[in-house]
């Protein structure tokens, strides 16, 4: 099939089989290796990306589902070496260790903050419950998302 969709705001036209995984399209065809493969069955969340602003597992999403859609990967958040607020909070709150879960974790958190600007701790934990981190006890990760929500709110208030 000829697939037309957007990745990180860029229009993409790709000749691919309809059952090809989004994970392979991103990693192999588009070289977006920030998307990780940890289990290939939707259990670990390392491959989480946004599909029309919803967090999805790229390992369980296939080309046939993508026509006309907007895909955002971790590479779509930072611009020319500048991290966005959520990424910065992950760095500064010491929420990153081995880093293999980090990109998927940040994308799940991003999806949460896009639909809920004042998440409670339970809501953050629930939003991240599809992402496994083996290095931490999730404490700093939750704090990073909490702080990002606060900073984003402060930024919105300043803008007003």
């Amino acid at each position: 099939m000829t697939l037309h969709f957007f990745v990180n705001k860029r229009p993409i036209v790709l000749e691919t089989s309809p059952d090809r995984r989004l994970l392979d399209i991103l990693r192999e065809d588009l070289h977006l290796t920030g998307v990780k493969e940890g289990c290939a069955e939707g259990e670990c969340g390392a491959c989480t990306v946004l599909l029309d602003d919803q967090a999805v597992h790229a390992c369980l999403t296939i080309a046939a589902q993508l026509e006309g859609c907007r895909v955002t990967t971790i590479e779509g958040l930072a611009e020319l070496g500048e991290l966005d607020i959520l990424q910065t909070c992950f760095v500064e709150e010491i929420a990153i260790q081995c880093g293999f879960c980090t990109t998927g974790m940040i994308m799940s958190a991003k999806a949460l903050l896009m639909r809920n600007s004042h998440p409670k701790e339970e809501e953050i934990r629930l939003a991240l419950s599809g992402n496994i981190c083996r290095c931490s006890g999730y404490v700093q990760i939750v704090k990073a998302v909490q702080r990002a929500a606060e900073e984003l709110e402060a930024k919105r208030t300043c803008a007003v």
């Binding site: 920030g34 081995c98 880093g99 991240l128 083996r134």
Partner: protein, 751 residues
């Protein structure tokens, strides 16, 4: 101190947050072949035939490699230094399969999809043999490995004099622990590049010992060591899973045969079944106490299932026999360890190298003893833990400023243990469904190989032309901040910003020969090496400054990245000026080297506390509160230490309540994360951490001790103790998952 004790993110945190950092699986080289492995589908048997025609017929396939067209030479996956006397027991592709998952063949192709497709077309014919799936099969005499006894190794040791039993209370507990998966989020991977013209192999792999891989590959492939270069790549977690070599030999052999780069990335299924697991263990502990709670005698009989290859099992079981002496005072000790084989995944290194299993057995026994003696659980431990100034009785090494007693006392207060005990009692009396309990776990560990063998490290530092520092140590950051910690140590000594230090990780072409980053030796041994190298560089800087600028050596000091003079405040020579002046005038670089010979191994301990609620209807246990108290000495980077400790608590909660790999009657093992239940963000409370820093080590950098492994040791015992407290039970088989708890409750009702 300006840097030590400050919170810093891991050195590559920004790149990781951006998805920019490359792991081995992200690397692509020109003309690279992708490998897919073919594994045994039977637990035990001989390969009679491998048919490759259909696989070779797939366009894009470069070759099919199997037991009948590759070398019969063997290697040992566990070998990591030349002094180990280990037999080669593994072929790259075997004609005698020992478990479901043994390597039989591999396909190399133009892309992963093609390799995977062709691998499914390789036809293997087996002659099946009887097999064992664990202790009961093997000990009942089921033949599981041709030519080998069911009990592969036996180890006995005794310390002290057997006491007179008069008046002593004997407490016996039996514990059984299942196989565990490390569950590193990054599955194993490696890329091997081959230069056929220089006969050079370059291996890129996330691993804990670049020189270990070099040694095994070079010997296996009959190449000189300098022709094998191993580069440690960013590691997506290890916990011991990446300290044995099971995919590098296959990848290297294929790269060398094809004369092109290859990439081999394990799937999750392969990472679970075909790498290493924490071996299943069964142990009986018999302790004898005086009525006042003083431990007089400890006897342990431990069985370890090595799985299909013996790997590290003989060392692992011996290591266990030394662990009790890192925490408790034991006048008489008797240990019998036996290693069995079975046709199951291979046991190997796992965080704490048996200390976690030892602590589960030991702490369960202490809880039971407390009940039988009528002594409060923390009081019983306080009576028997080692105190500052005592020695490890097994090795004879002084434990220096061990602080396990303080950890127990401070944790008791901080956790509000006594209040929780009272509150739980009231809660349990009023709740028909839920039961609450608290648990405590103690444990000790080491910081180095010493005195098992003489540990040492080498570090080289030098000034660049602009005054920044180039550091060379053989480091393997697992993701816990090793590089950052070393930069902080070096920068603290030189009084420069840590960002002015560049530190490469392990690369056999660049960094000195080293044992590798395990045994919790990184901060203690290599950190001290970094400290000594920085001190030597500081001396060199002052010597060269005195020489070049005609100043008195004794009046000089390093301050804020410049050399200052006590006698003349106007002297302010930057490291850049010095480096350039030395090059131009003295015709030499400002550099230093240090070799640190380690001769101590202080007591490093932890005490964890857990509060749980068990749902007696579902058997599900919720962790309500958790406190980890670690006797860490000087923490170099407290926030990264805390993050690592919280991860250890998560892993321990998993071992206590959920995690197990089961072997089916057909010999197939758990092979999916959907059936291996890890703790998620919704499952855990805000894990609290208390670092006790006054028990400083004498040799560690700035008094630091280890943290990576010790933090895991007390975790599962604390959670298990809490569940047993809640249910007034003495459950022996881990994990205490809903099946286990409901079975126990049903038996209780029936009795």
């Amino acid at each position: 101190m300006k840097l030590i004790g400050k919170d810093k993110p891991i050195h590559d945190a920004r790149g990781k947050a951006a998805g920019f950092v490359k792991y081995a699986g992200d690397v692509t080289l020109p003309n690279m072949a992708y490998i897919a492995l073919v594994h045994s589908t039977i637990p035990h048997g001989c390969v009679k035939e491998v048919r490759t025609e259909r696989a070779l017929g797939v366009p894009g396939v470069y070759g099919v490699f199997h037991c009948f067209n590759t070398t019969a030479r063997t290697y040992n996956r566990y070998r990591s230094n030349f002094a180990q006397n280990l037999p080669g027991e593994e072929r790259v592709f075997t004609d005698y399969v020992r478990f479901v998952g043994d390597r039989v063949a591999a396909v190399a192709a133009c892309d992963q999809e093609t390799a995977d497709k062709a691998a499914r077309l390789v036809e293997v014919t087996y002659e099946e043999l009887p097999f064992s799936i664990g202790f009961d099969d093997t000990l009942s005499g089921r033949n599981c490995l041709a030519g080998e006894r069911p009990v592969r190794d036996e180890f006995f040791t005794e310390i002290g004099t057997q006491p007179d039993d008069d008046g002593l209370i004997e407490v016996t507990t039996v514990s059984e622990m299942p196989r565990l998966h490390h569950a590193t989020m990054e599955p194993h991977a490696c890329v091997v590049d081959c230069d056929p013209y220089q006969q050079q192999l370059t291996v890129y792999s996330p691993n804990q010992a670049v020189h270990g891989i070099r040694l095994v590959l070079a010997d296996f492939l009959e190449m000189p060591y300098h022709r094998v270069r191993v580069v440690k790549t960013t590691m997506g977690g290890s916990f011991g899973a990446k300290q044995e070599w099971f995919l590098e030999p296959a990848a290297a052999l294929i790269a060398k045969t094809l004369g092109r780069p290859v990439k081999l990335v394990y799937s999750r299924e392969e990472a679970m079944v075909c790498s290493v697991v924490r071996g299943a263990m069964r142990g009986e502990v018999r302790s004898k106490f005086k009525p006042d709670g003083t431990l007089i005698s400890l006897s342990m009989d431990v069985l370890l299932d090595a799985g299909a290859y013996i790997g590290n099992a003989a060392d692992y079981i011996r290591a266990l026999s030394g662990k009790p002496f890192r925490c408790y005072r034991i006048p008489y000790f008797r240990f019998c360890g036996r290693v069995i084989s079975s046709n199951t995944p291979v046991s190997g290194a796992f965080r704490s190298w048996s200390a976690a299993e030892e602590a589960i057995m030991m702490e369960r026994n202490f809880d039971e003893a407390a009940r039988q003696l009528g002594i409060e659980r923390i009081e019983l431990r306080l009576k028997n833990v080692l105190l500052s100034g005592e020695a490890d009785r097994k090795s004879g090494v002084p434990l220096e400023n061990i602080r396990v007693r303080d950890a127990l006392e401070q944790g008791r207060t901080s956790f509000r243990w006594d209040e929780l005990v009272q509150a739980d009692r009231a809660f349990n009396e009023s709740s028909p469904r839920y039961r609450r309990g608290v648990g405590v776990g103690c444990g000790g560990h080491g910081n180095t190989y010493y005195p098992r063998f003489n540990d040492y490290g080498e570090g080289r530092l030098g000034l660049n032309e602009d005054g920044t520092v180039q550091a060379t140590l053989t480091l393997h950051d697992h993701g816990c901040g090793t590089v950052t910690a070393m930069r902080m140590i070096i920068a603290e000594v030189l009084d420069i910003p840590d960002t002015s230090v560049y530190l490469a990780e392990g690369d056999t072409a660049v960094t000195p020969v080293d044992y590798g980053c395990f045994a919790s030796r990184t901060t203690f041994v290599l950190g001290r090496t970094a400290y000594d190298a920085a001190t030597a560089l500081r001396d060199e800087i002052l010597d060269r400054t005195a020489e070049l600028f005609s100043l008195t050596r004794g009046s000089l000091r390093l301050e804020n990245g410049a050399v200052r003079c006590r006698d003349d405040e106007c002297v302010n020579i930057t490291l850049e000026q010095l480096a350039q002046a030395s090059m131009l005038k003295l015709k030499r670089n400002v550099c230093a080297q240090a070799q640190f010979n380690n001769t101590s191994n202080p007591g490093v301990t932890g005490v964890h506390f857990a509060h749980v609620e068990v749902d007696t209807w579902t058997g599900f246990t919720k962790v309500l509160d958790y406190l980890a108290v670690q006797d860490i000495g000087q923490p170099i980077n407290p926030a990264m230490c805390a993050a690592q400790i919280q991860g250890a608590a998560q892993m321990g909660c998993g071992a206590a309540l959920r995690e197990k790999m089961t072997i089916g009657k057909d010999g197939r093992c758990t092979e999916s994360l959907s059936k291996y239940h890890l703790f998620l963000a919704t499952d855990l409370p805000d894990i609290r951490v208390l670092l006790l820093s006054d028990g400083r080590s004498e040799e560690g950098p700035f008094g630091a001790k280890s943290i990576g492994e010790i933090s895991y040791v007390p975790a599962a015992p604390a959670v298990c103790g809490a569940v047993n407290d809640a249910l007034e039970s003495a459950l022996g088989t881990l994990p205490y998952d809903p099946d286990c708890i409901l079975k126990y409750l049903a038996e209780e009702r029936d009795s």
